[in-house]
């Protein structure tokens, strides 16, 4: 009986997984784009760019994502020009888009800080070697700075992505029936919070477990030079076509 209920709840919540993944995916994809722009602005050396990114990080990292989401979904539609704008209104009247915008803006603040730290942590000597061999700034960045910085950023980045997975649950407060929204509806209908929320929690756990495993695998693949040297036979791998 209880088992049947668990099973049916599990199934209902799982049916909302694609929606959760959709918010998650677009949130982190746009977030990454914005974060890249912010990092570039910050690293460009222009004072104005630096002030802007500092202010951006201060605001979006310093206030709760829930507040940001409410401001975007409920707040912005107060303004006439938003409601009459042919570009803004189709986005801002849709709770799905609003959630994605809020998540992207929020995660971009954290990610730009992660990337800034990683870029600064690239050993100077490695960049100097690239300079000394006549590489242009772009080649240097592509072959040396970026690959090293990405590896340095990966652990913190994966944590941020996991935080974002959990943040998708906030979409339920702006009427979206993703996993959390669905779970809450079942809970209201059945008054069985323990069973329902346990189901939702387990799915989030498994989801994050797979994301963490995925990142661990990528990290492992990218850092053979940080592990103790394996046997010579395993060391030999073909040089990739593209460096």
């Amino acid at each position: 009986m209880a088992f049947d209920f668990y099973l049916s709840t599990m199934w209902s919540v799982l049916k909302a997984l694609p929606l959760t993944l959709e918010i998650w995916f677009f949130g982190i994809a746009f977030g990454l784009l914005i974060a890249t722009g912010l990092t570039w602005l910050r690293a460009s050396g222009y004072k104005l760019g630096e002030y802007f990114t500092r202010a951006y990080v201060f605001i979006f990292r310093g206030s709760p994502l829930l507040v940001q989401l409410y401001l975007i979904y409920f707040g912005l539609s107060q303004f006439d020009f938003v409601r009459h704008s042919p570009i803004l209104w189709p986005i801002l009247r849709d709770p799905m888009y609003c959630t994605i915008v809020a998540m992207a803006l929020n995660t971009a603040a954290y990610e730009s800080e992660i990337f800034r730290g990683a870029l600064r942590a690239v050993p100077v000597g490695q960049i100097e070697a690239a300079k000394a061999f006549g590489m242009s700034a772009f080649t240097r960045f592509r072959l040396v700075t970026l690959p090293i910085a990405l590896r340095l950023a990966l652990p913190a980045y994966s944590t941020e992505i996991i935080l974002m997975t959990k943040a998708t649950a906030l979409a339920s407060v702006v009427t979206i029936m993703e996993m959390m929204g669905t779970a809450q509806k079942i809970q209201h209908d059945t008054f069985r919070p323990i069973e329902v929320l346990t189901c939702a929690g387990v799915i989030y756990l498994l989801l994050n477990l797979s994301i963490a495993r995925l990142f661990a695998w990528v990290e492992y693949r990218l850092s053979p030079h940080l592990r103790p040297p394996p046997e010579q036979s395993q060391q030999i791998r073909p040089v990739p076509e593209v460096l």
């Binding site: 070697a129 000394a132 061999f133 006549g134 090293i148």
Partner: protein, 271 residues
């Protein structure tokens, strides 16, 4: 662009055809501290110049000013007769006028660092082909072939697929020398190549450097290896407190130190 080409052509046909590197009155300050107080240096093709000096004498800074890893405050640098053009930056300091020219010249001046600075995320082989393929735009297959030959020459071909952190210091430095050779450089700059090595690993690196000197390569070597300076180099330059204290033929310099400072310096080493 056409102006650049004209300037390059003019520079190349200058009378100092045998000059590989010529430095005139180079000065460099870090804050209030004047590290180089007007250094001049003339390296002809085939010269192996050992640059000696106690720490803080400015020898590494001088080397780094030649390939513009540091920007000299004043003075001129010519590589293969070509003047590195400088201009006044907005902050009043000197800066390279044309970064493309600097990059092109750097590609001819391969550098070997004290701390190797091999790119740690690439295998040894990848380290050797990265710059030739991406800077000199040579075909990859050709670069790979040359890289393997160079690794055989410095004796670490078996380690070609290793990552730098998995090798000893001596092996890393030999890989770094091979990486420099892969650029077919006109001049090689060595910045204390054996100073970070365990004593028992110094020999293997010096042997490689000696063989390079014997095949007539032009080398500027900042070093503390007195044996190398005396036996291998064609010229010894001694820096003291940011100035050239003495220059000369190594045998002569070591047999009859021309200045009290140099005498003191080698005396400290013989203790």
């Amino acid at each position: 662009m056409s102006a650049n080409v004209a300037a390059a052509a003019q520079a190349a046909s200058s009378p100092e055809d045998k000059s590989a590197i010529s430095v005139k009155d180079m000065r460099k300050c870090f804050g209030d501290h004047e590290v180089l107080k007007g250094i001049s240096l003339e390296a002809h093709k085939g010269d192996v110049i050992s640059i000696l000096g106690s720490s803080g004498s400015g020898k590494s800074t001088m080397l780094r000013c030649i390939n513009l890893l540091e920007t000299p405050d004043s003075g001129e640098v010519r590589v293969d007769g070509e003047l590195i053009r400088m201009k006044q930056g907005r902050d009043g300091r000197q800066m390279p006028a044309d970064i493309r020219q600097v990059e092109r010249i750097r590609a001819n001046l391969a550098m070997v660092f004290q701390s190797f600075n091999l790119w740690s995320h690439m295998t040894v082989l990848e380290n050797l082909v990265a710059a030739p393929t991406h800077v000199l735009k040579r075909p990859r297959a050709e670069c790979l072939e040359q890289a393997e030959a160079l690794l055989k020459r410095v004796g670490i071909w078996e380690r070609r697929n290793y990552y730098p952190p998995h090798m000893s210091g001596g092996q890393q430095q030999r890989a770094a020398i091979a990486r420099a050779l892969a650029m077919n450089p006109k001049v090689m700059l060595f910045d204390e190549p054996t100073s970070a090595l365990d004593p028992e690993l110094v020999g293997e690196v010096l042997r490689v450097m000696r063989s390079l000197a014997e095949e007539g390569r032009t080398m500027l070597v900042v070093t503390h290896e007195m044996g190398f300076a005396r036996d291998v180099s064609s010229k010894v330059m001694f820096l003291h407190k940011g100035e050239v204290d003495s220059v000369g033929e190594p045998k002569e310099m070591f047999a009859r130190p021309p200045t009290p400072q140099f005498k003191q310096f080698i005396a400290n080493f013989n203790k």
